[in-house]
């Protein structure tokens, strides 16, 4: 990454601006950007959680999903659902994902950050169930509670093929501290245990990734990169057929055998 961890990553902002021709406006919280745009022929709302150095909650200044972000995402999506209750074709919602984590802090726990993130999860899930195609575009980190709240309820998950794009339950540095291992030891373990890995190739083997998009630069995309990504987003949106509202397709991954077996056996025993 070119950007230091303290000030937060700029990737999300750059891709959001590129995809929306800088048509974003501030969402229900200063750290949120929302735009309504046409992406390669598809009517889309684009949502971003971005670093906000002036965030009144100091533990959520580097792009983390905190109290304001969770409820804010929920409100932004709720108003999209509300505005389109009568629409025949529901506009898509595109989550641009570059979230280092959820916010870690005392105020956050005291004021119910879990409930705030639940609001965001609920809003994305309700939008999906209402027929809005939901597509997540991972351009940087997609970590833990941050990703659950912003992106993981999508019908389709796309990612830039870049080593700065990582999906995990806990950031590598924090995971190393908590498990009393070095980051190198975590990498070693990850090379044998696919769900432990941070890289996208292993993540794709779990079945949750729908497309890996190669770009010349994930940090400063050129026009061709942007066009390619727009094309992939539009393709994903048009691939989501009416009634295709579940997350079932994620079960097809080569490294998700147990997830399928559990469901098959439970189904067989359900009426037994």
């Amino acid at each position: 990454m070119t950007i230091s961890e303290n000030s937060g990553s700029l990737r999300g902002r750059r891709w959001f601006d590129a995809l929306t021709h800088s048509a974003g406006r501030e969402g229900p919280a200063p750290s949120l950007q929302v735009a309504e745009v046409n992406i390669a022929g598809q009517h889309c709302y684009v949502l971003l959680v971005k670093p906000e150095p002036e965030n009144v909650f100091p533990r959520a200044r580097a792009g983390e999903v905190g109290l304001l972000e969770g409820w804010g995402i929920a409100q932004a999506i709720d108003s999209i659902i509300e505005a389109n209750t009568q629409a025949m074709a529901k506009p898509a919602v595109i989550a641009v994902v570059d979230v280092p984590s959820q916010a870690y802090g005392r105020r956050e726990e005291a004021l119910g950050i879990h409930q705030s993130l639940a609001a965001a999860v609920s809003a994305y899930a309700r939008a999906r169930l209402a027929g809005h195609p939901i597509v997540s575009l991972l351009v940087g980190k997609a970590m833990s509670g941050g990703f659950l709240a912003h992106g993981y309820q999508a019908n389709r998950i796309l990612a830039l093929g870049d080593e700065g794009v990582q999906v995990h339950a806990m950031g590598k540095a924090a995971a190393a501290r908590i498990t009393l291992r070095t980051e190198e030891e975590l990498d070693q373990l990850a090379s044998e245990i696919p769900p432990m890995a941070y890289d996208l190739e292993n993540y794709a083997s779990l079945g949750m990734l729908d497309a890996l998009i190669e770009v010349s630069s994930a940090d400063s995309p050129d026009d061709q990169d942007v066009e390619r990504v727009k094309g992939e987003i539009a393709h994903a949106v048009s691939d989501i057929k009416p009634g295709d509202v579940s997350l079932r397709r994620r079960l097809a991954g080569t490294n998700r055998k147990a997830s399928r077996l559990v469901r098959e056996m439970m189904r067989a025993q359900w009426d037994a």
């Binding site: 919280a29 956050e108 005291a110 119910g112 879990h114 993130l117 999860v121 609920s122 659950l148 359900w270």
Partner: protein, 283 residues
């Protein structure tokens, strides 16, 4: 129903909790330990897997109504969710959903003693939790999904978000509910932000009493089997709420935008912010 002698709920195993909450004789466990579907990932990391992967799922009846119930065993790997345990809960919610769509009303009760994602199965735990959350949001449009947090582990990580999605949440004083565990916060934000050994601070902010007082839980119940059975039945009897807590967006956001973050927060200040009512500090 259980016998009427007073008995604690918190000390019971996950399987016993399920048996006691369901109508007597109605428990039909799915994927029991005899099926021996264990975690495919733990042994490679030197951890002995458990035959039920620390999650008990069953269907049965509560008050003669069809209900599915899942219980996480807090004593196995801290109630953490891996691939198998996560798939059991998600799969259970998916089967209940199908029943509802077929016209057979089926509610759900989730006993959430969980540290969140099992780090040894990281991305499969996280992915499963996303599917559990999707399952709750869809199922709760048909029938109530009741969450229960009793302790001793408490409910953290992605499963605390799942708790926030439930139609109703029941807690005991021994239960805790929070997104991040105290040690992780201390590690990431420093001891001045959160002292993980300060019991009073942590229980004051995240314990069942405070969560109930501030509206983040619906029922506070004694650690007693009969009281718990009554509380669960009471929530199920209320049916689907007109508004789920997770969707009460406007007031929540307005409140938080006004918070004075120039100083740290106490349980009383949190109470005031979340309820709009001042609380006198009479300690």
């Amino acid at each position: 129903m259980s016998s009427s002698q007073s008995k604690g709920f918190v000390d019971l195993s996950a399987r016993k909790r399920v048996e006691i909450l369901l109508d007597r004789g109605s428990m039909h466990e799915l994927l029991s330990p005899f099926d021996k579907v264990t975690s495919p990932w733990l042994e490679k990391q030197g951890i002995v897997p458990q035959f039920d992967d620390g999650v008990v799922v069953a269907k049965g009846t509560i008050g003669a109504k069809s209900t599915v119930i899942a219980a996480i065993e807090g004593s196995f790997q801290g109630g953490s969710l891996g691939e198998v345990g996560g798939a059991k809960i998600a799969g259970l919610l998916e089967l209940a959903l199908e029943e509802n769509k077929k016209g057979n009303p089926t509610a759900a009760v989730l006993l959430l003693e969980s540290g969140g994602v099992r780090l040894q199965e990281a991305n499969l735990g996280l992915g499963a939790i996303a599917e559990i959350q999707a399952g709750i949001v869809e199922l709760r449009t048909y029938q109530p999904v009741v969450g229960v947090i009793t302790g001793p582990v408490g409910c953290f990580g992605g499963m605390s978000i799942a708790a926030g999605l439930c139609s109703y949440l029941i807690m005991t004083r021994e239960g805790r509910l929070g997104l991040n565990g105290p040690q992780v916060i201390e590690q990431e934000a420093g001891i001045d932000e959160y002292d993980s050994r300060n019991r009073d601070l942590i229980w004051g902010l995240t314990g069942g009493t405070q969560r109930f007082a501030t509206g983040l839980a619906d029922v506070l119940v004694d650690d007693d089997v009969d009281a718990m059975c009554k509380a669960v039945q009471g929530c199920l009897a209320k049916g689907v709420p007109a508004h789920h807590r997770s969707d009460e967006i406007l007031g929540s956001l307005e409140n938080l935008l006004k918070v004075d973050t120039s100083k740290q927060i106490t349980a009383d200040v949190a109470y005031q912010i979340l309820t709009g009512v001042a609380k006198n500090d009479d300690k």
